[in-house]
Amino acid sequence: MAIKVRIPTPLRKLTNGSDEVFAEGRNIGEIINDLEKSFPGLKERICEGDGKLRRFVNIYLNDEDIRFKKNLETELKENDELSIIPAIAGGSI
């Protein structure tokens, strides 16, 4: 099943400039591994050495943060969309 993944600006160097790409997988972990096959180097930017999602990288499944679902094990269905979004956009106090 091909899932649409939105790529943030800082990672587009790795996707040859594409802001949207497609990847295959039943869950988000598999999608990331498939992305790594197509775009080598992408996985280490969003995952720690042990494969866990980096703390300041958010992945949204449709509009929900996957940390509040089953994280990388979250299963995907037809027409789901993923967005990779760096967490730090600013802040205050």
Binding site: T9, P10, R45, R54, R55, F56, V57, D65, R67, F68, P86, A87, I88, A89, G90, G91, S92, I93
Partner: protein, 417 residues
């Protein structure tokens, strides 16, 4: 002379030059200023500091500027008050208020971060200063930009207190009110910061900006006679202040200006916006964003940038997080005003309300030193008090009517004999 080494990612440790950068390009972690502590230790003594003028720049070796500040030379060194009356009311022995409600020039702790941010932005060659703000930052950016002849753009959520809007417009800032929450304002500002070459103090200048908060902590320690307080209660919005107070304590210990760090740091939020407190109570590392609904608008950040690190400070120091309702916030504002003559903004009500709760819960013992951090002035958030205070008494300008009033209030003992 500057002791600023460069920027460093808090997550992966990758080092960066001292530029307008705030996110690690490798792992997306936040960047932080790194200093040459060994050299600072050689030159900075208690005596050197004590001889300097009473402002935040007495700790300049620990701040991220190449040379002297170009704005805000008078900011900081606000009073640390031994609060006997309030201490009695709460049943505790040693209570202090660190009072940034009287910080110069805009009556909140934000003048500390803004004077660092604007001075650094000017060193980096920026021409326009901007910020996303819940109000206090807006006031400070507008005032300090005006004071050094810079143009400023201030982005605020549309439902801010009128006083905070007037207190920004007066300085000639361009104020853009966004139909959305602070978190939405902030997201938009990140996009603007990416597109326009402006210095957003709390976005692309954030690593420098945030360092200014450390002076709140240094002052507290110096004013206590170079002693660490046992308990410190701090308000949290994005969570930067609490992490920087903890950093300031650790730095003073590292360079030998204070010893035996055993402070516990407690974070305070409003019940209507408590994402960091929720995480601490649940023992979770994850901060679940919330949609804010509280009168403490200066703390109404539902997706706190430094939430993870704030929760860690509370955990690592042995502190805790707690929150209070809007009614408890108002009661605490009144209590502070009636016992100590200090009119703090709603955020101060949050901090004192939480302190009271932590004492009642037994989390803060009654016989150890406690510092309550007051970060903003009540004159700015008067709207929260409408209908919550006693009414004024209206009479005609006749002595007989006043006599009636005195009798009605049972104050005849006050008559001259």
């Amino acid at each position: 002379m500057s002791f600023m080494k460069g920027l460093k990612c808090r997550e992966c440790g990758k080092e960066y030059p001292k530029e307008a950068l705030h996110v690690c390009e490798l792992c997306f972690g936040p960047l932080e200023v790194n200093y040459e502590y060994e050299k600072i230790k050689e030159v900075l003594t208690r005596q050197t500091i004590e001889k300097r003028p009473p402002n935040m720049w007495r700790y300049k070796e620990l701040l991220p500027l190449e040379s002297d500040p170009s704005v805000g030379a008078q900011v900081g060194f606000t009073p640390l008050i031994r609060a006997h009356n309030l201490g009695n009311a709460l049943g505790v022995r040693e209570l202090y208020i660190k009072n940034d409600a009287v910080n110069y020039p805009t009556l909140s702790f934000k003048d500390r971060v803004v004077s660092v941010a604007i001075s650094r932005a000017r060193e980096l060659g920026f021409k326009i200063i901007a910020c996303a703000s819940t109000g206090n930052l807006a006031n400070s950016v507008a005032a300090n930009s005006a004071a050094c002849g810079m143009e400023s753009y201030v982005f605020i959520p549309h439902d801010l207190e009128q006083t905070k809007i007037m207190g920004t417009l007066i300085y000639g800032a361009t104020v853009v009110s966004i139909k959305g929450t602070y978190d939405e304002v902030n997201r938009l500002c990140s996009e603007i910061a990416g597109k326009y070459g402006w210095a957003f103090v709390n976005i692309n200048i954030r690593p420098y900006y945030a360092e200014g908060s450390k002076t709140f902590g240094y002052e507290m320690i110096e004013q206590l006679g170079w002693r660490f307080p046992r308990h410190v209660v701090v308000p949290m919005a994005g969570g930067s202040l609490i992490t920087k107070i903890w950093k300031s304590f650790n730095e003073l210990q590292k360079i030998g200006l204070a010893k035996n760090l055993d402070s516990r740091i407690y974070g305070a939020q409003a019940a209507g916006c408590a994402p960091i407190v929720n995480a601490v109570k649940e023992g979770s590392e994850l901060i679940r964003p919330v949609r804010p609904n509280t009168i403490a608008k200066s703390l109404a950040i539902g997706n706190p940038a430094d939430g993870y690190y704030s929760a860690k400070v509370m955990r690592d120091s042995g502190g805790w997080g707690e929150c209070v309702t809007d009614d408890e916030i108002i009661s605490a504002m009144k209590l502070l005003a009636e016992t100590e003559g200090i009119f703090a903004e709603t955020a101060g009500g949050v901090t004192l309300g939480v302190t009271k709760k932590l004492i009642e819960q037994g989390r803060i013992p009654k016989d150890e030193s406690i510092v309550v951090s007051i970060t903003g002035n009540g004159l700015k958030t008067q709207e929260a008090l409408y209908g919550k205070l006693n009414q004024v008494t209206v009479i005609n300008a006749r002595l007989a009517e006043f006599d009636d009033l005195v009798r009605a209030n049972g104050k005849e003992y006050a008559l001259k004999s």
